[in-house]
Every structure is written in structure tokens, then in C-alpha cells.
């Protein structure tokens, strides 16, 4: 009998939780649907911009942060269960292209993108920035004149044991970037391979992604790294600067609206804001992003003179192939 009682308690807990949840749900549904804009994004540190937007327009942008690794999986799962709440999605271009193939995206013509280069407008997907990659060095340990002038300089033995980079065997962006160098910078594949060999001989320390690269640079654990110039802004006043090498390469950042968004008007309004000079300026200034809005640059000395070009995103097969290739080149053990 008492077992029943025990199980009853358990059941009760489940039921009550369900009810509490239900209450919570009706609450969220009742909340003015016209005001809330749901943004799924993988770009980080944008809270101040969203806050500014909320304040100046009276909207409420709900920012769901999705890392690249979980992006497609999460959205497709929600779509399948008809629970996608996103109005606006922001992520790397190839990912948004997959979402468009799956019929998730709307094709909205943004007025604010009129000044953008043609390659930045792809049938409803807008490129608004480039996740630019460069050689970042510690200014306490490296004088500007000692910094590399060309990418080849990183293969100089003087950097041996002083380099940090994301693992070229596994980090997709680093793989794409290295392949991007081959396709955009080096004159021949042999020259590029010599560079890789030299870089490998310098025994760089590998981390999982770009995220952990600035810490060893700021602390002086490493002198130089393949990292992102925006950290110079976000990690100020850390003693960081970037080697001024042209061109700099990076993956394009894209944004788009979803089809059947719960709040289409709000979504459009937000996209117009996001692509406009105001938001782009804040993105550049506060987050150090390289934006495509004409004439807007991050507050990093010399960046306006540097050419920053989007690299080709590699297919999965290419990533696997090059990852394995780099794995061989970089494994000295």
C-alpha cells in the first residue's frame, strides 16, 4: 500500500512539474508577441548592441546562443518538431545555405544592404562581416618591427616554441584558413607546403579553437599566434597587436530571416537595424568585428588599409582530407 503512496508522490511531482511548466508556457505565449524577436546566433559578445536596440526601439530581442557545432542540429530538430521559435538566424554562410536548402529561410530584400558588395547578398542571406584571422603577437615580447611581414615569416625558426594556434587537424576554420592561404596568398603549392613545414617545425601549441588563443598570448606564455584581431579590442588593455599583412582572410558571417517567423515585422525591422551603419559601427567598435557595411572599420590601427577577403568554405570531404593532411604535416612525434 505504502509503495503506492511512494509512487503517488513521484507521479505527483511529475504532474506538478508539468502544470508549473504549462503555467510558464501560457505566460510566455501571452507575452506581447509583436515585441519579441528571437535571434539564434553564433556570434558572441553582442549583448550591448542588442540592449541598445531594445532601448531605442522598445523591442525585445531574445538572443539564443548556438555554437557552430550545435547550430544545424538544434534548428533542424526544432523545425522537425515544429518548435522553431527563431525569427532571425545568424551563422556562418554554409550553415545558412543548408538551412535554406531545408526550406527554413525566407527571402527578404533588406534596404540597409543596398550599399553592400554584390557578393554579400545571396537571395535572402546577407553577409555582414568577416571573421578575419591574422597573426596576433604580444607587444611586450615582440617589437612591431620583429613581427612577420609576410605569412612565410611565421615559419622562421626564431618563433620555435612561441606559437599558439588552433589544431589544424581538427579546427575547421583553421583548416579553411590554411587552404585559403594556398588559394589566395601563396604563388605555388610548393611554396605553401614549405611554409606549412616550417610552421610545423616551430612546434606550435594547439588549442581547440580560436577562443583559447588570446589567453596564452596576453599572458606571454606564447609570443605569437594564429588568432583573431578582434581580440585586440575585446581583450584591451592586453598587450596584443596584429601583424600587418595584406590580405587578411576570414569566413563570412551571414544573417537571414526564417520562413514563417512568429514575428516577421519585428524580424525585418531587426535585420534592417543589424545591417545598417549604426549596428555595424557598434559591432566594429565594441566587438572588433570586421563588417561589410561601407566605410565602417573596427578601432584597430591600420585595418582600413588592409584588404580583408572572404575565403571559400570547404566541403566536409575537403575538410576531412585537409585535416588528415595537416595532421600528418604537423605531427612531429
Amino acid at each position: 500500500m505504502n509503495l503506492k503512496k511512494t509512487m503517488l508522490v513521484l507521479a505527483l511531482v511529475l504532474v506538478i512539474s508539468g502544470m508549473v511548466f504549462a503555467a510558464g508556457k501560457t505566460e510566455t505565449v501571452a507575452e506581447a508577441p509583436t515585441k519579441k524577436v528571437s535571434l539564434y546566433a553564433n556570434i558572441t559578445a553582442i549583448e550591448p548592441i542588442l540592449e541598445y536596440y531594445n532601448k531605442s526601439t522598445g523591442s525585445e530581442v531574445e538572443y539564443t546562443r548556438l555554437s557552430t557545432a550545435r547550430y544545424v542540429s538544434t534548428i533542424l530538430t526544432e523545425v522537425e518538431a515544429k518548435k522553431l521559435t527563431a525569427d532571425v538566424v545568424q551563422g556562418p554562410l554554409p550553415i545558412l545555405e543548408i538551412l535554406r536548402e531545408q526550406g527554413v529561410l525566407a527571402n527578404y530584400k533588406a534596404k540597409a544592404a543596398e550599399g553592400y558588395p554584390e557578393w554579400a547578398k545571396k537571395d535572402g542571406i546577407y553577409l555582414f562581416g568577416i571573421e578575419y584571422v591574422g597573426l596576433i603577437y604580444n607587444t611586450d615580447l615582440v617589437k612591431p618591427e620583429e613581427a612577420p611581414k609576410r605569412y612565410q615569416d611565421l615559419a622562421d625558426p626564431k618563433w620555435k616554441g612561441h606559437i599558439v594556434m588552433a589544431d589544424p587537424a581538427t579546427h575547421a576554420t583553421t583548416i579553411s584558413w590554411l587552404v585559403g592561404l594556398k588559394e589566395n596568398v601563396f604563388s605555388s603549392e610548393a611554396e605553401w607546403r614549405a611554409f606549412l613545414k616550417g610552421l610545423a617545425a616551430n612546434e606550435p601549441m594547439f588549442v581547440a579553437s580560436f577562443g583559447p588563443t588570446p589567453a596564452p598570448l596576453a599572458s606571454g606564455e606564447k609570443k605569437i599566434g594564429i588568432s583573431m584581431p578582434k581580440y585586440i579590442v575585446t581583450h584591451a588593455p592586453a598587450p596584443l597587436d596584429y601583424a600587418k599583412i595584406s590580405p587578411m582572410l576570414g569566413s563570412p558571417r551571414a544573417i537571414a530571416l526564417t520562413k514563417g517567423a512568429p514575428n516577421p515585422r519585428g524580424a525585418e525591422q531587426f535585420l534592417e537595424f543589424w545591417l545598417g551603419a549604426d549596428a555595424a559601427g557598434r559591432l566594429a567598435n565594441d566587438v572588433g568585428e570586421y563588417v561589410l557595411a561601407p566605410g565602417v572599420y573596427p578601432p584597430i590601427a591600420g585595418i582600413s588599409e588592409t584588404e580583408v577577403i572572404p575565403i571559400r568554405e570547404l566541403s566536409d570531404e575537403e575538410l576531412q582530407k585537409w585535416g588528415a593532411e595537416f595532421d600528418k604535416i604537423f605531427s612531429l612525434k
Binding site: 511512494t6 508539468g18 581538427t170 588570446p214 596576453a218 581583450h235
Partner: protein
């Protein structure tokens, strides 16, 4: 009795299945589907791809070394500490309480990062000091190695092992050891021939739990293993997931399956070795005399060892966090760093609405989740220990199911599962996801406690006319209080810093601390991360200390009774 136990067993199997089998089932389907989501046409392509990876052999080797090494390290250290605390006259015993729970509250990523800061071969603080002190040509330690990973993971798993071993050690019938001494065994030999074999169930439970934890551990392998390019299964999964822009979690699940098989296998091994728990009942109604080993000359050196462990495990990471929270970016300590110190990071964190909301949510999940988890654990542990049937063995195995999966994978399993329920995108998704995944944390200490209670104690209650529930409430649970406190503390501190599941299921409004910390880490905001981390550690310390205090004051009458009982036993011992 029999029928009641059978009913209880089957009801629990249903409840636990809903919690743990369902998400794993989704993952199994996903691993065989040719779609990115869980459902799709059947294919074994994902298995073929991941299991033909040329790196797999070396990864398996590393994984075995890492997992066995860290589990062995944690278990041996836990045994050592449990012995010192329960059986010797070492001073400052409260240190053990702190030692045993403190590392539970430090987010593992932070712990790993602290150690990288201290022992990296380029400018690790400790390394540089040692180098200067002994005039070495190069840094003496490199944390980015397999031994480094083993030690750090071992330290992190130490509390789990300790909380399982210590109660068993405390309840040990000392005359079993004393007789060994009389029969010509020294203290060391007695330890290995008598004490450890009799404690085998607890030791194996601790070791296996650590192995399972090590298999699923991601923080240490990613923070310390990746820089040295030492891959283990969990980082291999990460690699499979991130090597493609469109992450295919079916592949990750396919790798996870082998971890699952290993874990479930281990649990059967454990059951095999401890199949007659009667063998190991060491506490009976006779009561136990706590005899204390006098350390004599070894007292001071052992105490110093204890201090060093406490320092390494608690003081150092907290100091590193405190330091990091005060500086604007990662700097080597020095004049420059000290002049740059400010409370800026603290100000930002305290004013950050998301941080505050995540604190709120985590507190709720920690308190409420641990309470439900501990309650469920009592029932499950009871069935596992006292109802020895095929069904109870099955229940034990399924209680480990979600736990055995690497965190990144099981989170997706829960997402695929919950998205089909109204729980999706609510705090209850986190709530039930936590309870399901970390159920073994609740069950393990509880089973150790149950094993120690001789069935005659309950049987006599039943004979006295008490019902099953009354027996539980009046006899079993009061005797179980230490186990319940252990379970609750393990669960609460785990939930308070849970990341793997939260990172998948947390949504705006249901942010939790670890996810907020992860955000800071993705932005490279180590200062804010450290400040929030310290707040988190402080709150869980208060939480755990309160529960420990309540646990020890549970039923004041009983405590008084216990005290007089101890005094009486003393007298008996003298007489």
C-alpha cells in the same frame, strides 16, 4: 514483501526508463539514421566512418591510459584520505569535509585552466618558480601531457571516490583489522590483506564511477589534452562533430555507443565481484567501536601531505581564480599585474542580468533537482541492494545509461527526446535531464550505505509490525542519513555547475551558471568567468555546508541517543 519489492522494482524501471532510456534510444536511432536528426532511413554508414578512422587505435590507447590512470589515482587518493580521516588521529579533521566537496564546486574547465596557468611548460607560474629555485635548464613539468591530464582529472574525480569510500571506511568493524594485527600482520599488510579486500565493494564502486566519469570527461582532455594533441574518445567525438560545419551527432552517438558498452560492461563486472553483498556486511546491530590508529611519528609528515593536497586541490585553484578575477586580462603575476588590479570584472558580473538569472536558475535546479534525485536514489538503491533479482540488476544498469554517455552527446539525446514533449525549452527539461543523467551520483553513495545496513535491522522492524514505509522512515532512512547527505551534496553541487546538458537545453530565460561561464570563456573573458566562478563556488559551499549541518543534526533525539550509545560502547570496550 516479495511482491511489494517486485512492484517497486518494476515501477522504478518504468520511471528510470522514462528518464534515461528514452534519450539514449533517440541516440541509438540517430546513430543508425541517414538523416541529421534522430529519425531517418537505416544506415550503418556512420559507424563505418568513425570506426575506420586511422587515429582510432592511438585514441583508444590514450583513453585507456587516461581513464584507468585517473580513476586509479582518484581512488587511491580517496582511500588514503578516507583512512586518515576515519581511522587515524590526524588533526584538523574538518579539512577532509572541505577537501571532499570543494572540487565538486569548481567548474572543471576552470580547474583545468588554473593548472595550465600554473604548470604550462612556457611560463607556468609554478614551473617558473621551480626552475628558478633549482636552477633547471627548462621547466620541470608539462601539464599538456597524459600524466598531467591524469593527475588533474584524478583530482577532480577525487570527491566522488571519497564520498563513496569514506562512509564505508567509517563503518568498518575494527576488530577485523585488530585480529589481523594479533596474527602477525603489520599495519601495511593488514591494510592490503584485510581492510582493502573487505572494502572492495566501495572501492570498486568508486573506481568504476571514476572510470565512467573519465570516459565522459571533456573539460580536461580539451583544455590539457588538445594542446599536446593527446586525443581521447570524448575529444575525438568533439573532433568528429566540429570537423564538419554541419555537425552530425549521429556519428558522435556512434562513438558514444562504444563508451556506453564499456560502461554497462563495467557495471556488470562490478555486480559480479560484489554479488554476495552479505559477505561484506560489516555493520550490524552490535554497533561498531571506532578505534583510532595512532600515527605517532607519521602524524606530522602525513598532516603535511594532507595540507599539500588541500592546497593543491582548493587553495591554489581558488587563488588563481581570485587573481584572474581581479586583472583585466591574463597576466603573469608581477608588479604590472598588481598595479592593473581592479574590481571591474566583479562589477560587470554583479550587474549582468543574465548572470543573475542564471544564478537563480542554477540555485533552483541544484536544490530542487538534488532533492528529487536523492529521493529517487533512495528507492533505486534500495532495490539494487536489497532486492537481488534480474530486474534489479537491469534497473541498476539503466540508471547508468545517460550517465555513461559523453556529455556533448547525451545533451543532444535529451534535445531529440524533449523536443517531442512539452518540457522542451523550459527549465523542467534541464531539471529532468540533470536528474536522469546524474542519477548514479545519487545512487552510489546510497548503495554503499544500504550495503552496510544488515537486513536483520529492517527485518526486525517488520517483525515489530511496522509497514514497509514505516520501516523505511523509522529505521532505514535514519541509518542512511550519511548516505543521503552524500548523495544530495554530490547531486546539488553537480547540478549547480552542470554544463554538458545545459549547453544544449538552456534557452533565453533558462540560462544556468555553467552556460554563462562558458559564454565568458568563448569570449575569452577569463576575468568575468573567474568572478562568476567564485560566486558559484561560494554559494555551493554555503549550500553544502548547510546541508551537512542539517544532516548531522537530523533528529536531535537520535543524536543524543547516539552519543550516549557511543559513550556506552566506550565503556563496554573498557570493560
Amino acid at each position: 514483501m516479495e511482491r511489494r519489492n517486485r512492484n517497486l522494482t518494476y515501477s522504478l524501471i518504468v520511471v528510470v526508463s522514462l528518464l534515461t532510456v528514452a534519450p539514449v534510444l533517440m541516440l541509438i536511432i540517430g546513430s543508425f539514421s541517414n538523416n541529421l536528426n534522430s529519425f531517418g532511413n537505416f544506415t550503418v554508414k556512420k559507424y563505418v566512418t568513425v570506426y575506420t578512422d586511422p587515429m582510432l587505435a592511438s585514441i583508444l590507447g590514450n583513453t585507456a591510459l587516461f581513464v584507468l590512470g585517473s580513476a586509479a589515482f582518484a581512488t587511491v587518493l580517496a582511500l588514503f584520505l578516507a583512512y586518515l580521516n576515519n581511522r587515524t588521529d590526524i588533526p584538523f579533521k574538518f579539512l577532509f569535509k572541505v577537501l571532499s566537496v570543494m572540487p565538486m564546486m569548481i567548474p572543471h574547465v576552470l580547474f583545468g585552466v588554473s593548472w595550465a596557468l600554473l604548470l604550462n611548460p612556457s611560463n607556468g607560474i609554478l614551473n617558473m618558480w621551480l626552475q628558478k629555485l633549482f636552477m633547471l635548464p627548462k621547466a620541470p613539468f608539462n601539464i599538456y601531457t597524459l600524466p598531467g591530464m591524469i593527475v588533474v582529472e584524478g583530482l577532480l574525480d577525487l570527491p566522488v571516490a571519497y564520498l563513496i569510500i569514506s562512509p564505508a571506511m567509517g563503518a568498518f568493524d575494527a576488530s577485523l583489522e585488530e585480529s589481523s594485527r594479533v596474527f602477525k600482520s603489520g599495519p601495511i599488510k593488514t591494510l592490503f590483506r584485510i581492510t582493502l579486500p573487505i572494502l572492495r565493494p566501495a572501492i570498486m564502486a568508486a573506481f568504476i564511477l571514476c572510470v565512467v566519469r573519465g570516459l565522459a570527461s571533456f573539460s580536461v582532455p580539451s583544455v590539457l589534452g588538445m594542446p599536446g594533441r593527446i586525443y581521447v574518445l570524448s575529444t575525438f567525438i568533439y573532433r568528429v562533430v566540429t570537423m564538419s560545419l554541419i555537425a552530425d551527432y549521429g556519428k558522435a552517438a556512434a562513438i558514444g555507443m562504444s563508451i556506453l558498452v564499456i560502461s554497462v560492461g563495467l557495471i556488470y563486472v562490478y555486480r559480479y565481484f560484489t554479488r554476495s553483498s552479505d559477505k561484506f556486511v560489516t555493520v550490524s546491530s552490535r554497533g561498531f567501536k571506532p578505534t583510532v590508529v595512532e600515527l605517532r611519528k607519521a602524524k606530522i609528515p602525513l598532516f603535511i601531505v594532507l595540507l599539500i593536497i588541500s592546497f593543491v586541490l582548493i587553495v591554489l585553484p581558488v587563488l588563481v581564480l581570485l587573481y584572474t578575477s581581479l586583472i583585466p586580462y591574463v597576466m603573469v603575476p608581477g608588479r604590472q599585474a598588481f598595479s592593473a588590479m581592479s574590481l571591474q570584472n566583479w562589477r560587470v558580473v554583479i550587474k549582468d542580468p543574465i548572470s543573475l538569472r542564471s544564478l537563480n536558475n542554477s540555485l533552483f535546479l541544484g536544490l530542487a533537482g538534488a532533492t528529487l534525485g536523492a529521493f529517487l536514489s533512495i528507492l533505486v538503491a534500495y532495490v539494487i541492494v536489497k532486492v537481488k533479482s534480474k530486474a534489479s540488476g537491469f534497473l541498476e544498469s539503466i540508471s547508468f545509461l545517460s550517465f555513461s554517455f559523453p556529455g556533448i552527446v547525451i545533451g543532444i539525446g535529451f534535445m531529440w527526446y524533449f523536443v517531442r514533449t512539452p518540457l522542451y525549452a523550459t527549465i523542467w527539461a534541464l531539471f529532468f535531464g540533470y536528474v536522469a543523467t546524474y542519477l548514479p551520483y545519487g545512487i552510489r553513495p546510497m548503495t554503499s550505505a544500504f550495503v552496510q545496513i544488515h537486513s536483520s535491522l529492517e527485518e526486525s522492524s517488520l517483525v515489530c509490525g511496522a509497514s514497509f514505509a514505516t520501516t523505511m522512515r523509522r529505521i532505514v532512512i535514519p541509518l542512511l542519513v550519511p548516505g543521503i547527505v552524500s548523495s544530495w551534496v554530490l547531486l546539488a553541487s553537480m547540478f549547480f555547475r552542470e554544463l554538458s546538458i545545459s549547453v544544449v537545453l538552456s534557452r533565453p530565460g533558462t540560462e544556468v551558471l555553467a552556460v554563462q561561464i562558458l559564454r565568458f570563456s568563448e569570449d575569452g573573458q577569463w576575468g568575468r568567468l573567474s568572478a562568476l566562478g567564485l560566486i558559484m563556488i561560494a554559494i555551493s559551499t554555503i549550500m553544502v555546508a548547510t546541508v551537512n549541518a542539517i544532516g548531522s543534526r537530523f533528529k536531535p533525539g537520535e543524536v543524543r541517543e547516539k552519543r550516549t550509545k557511543v559513550a556506552a560502547q566506550r565503556l563496554v570496550a573498557i570493560g
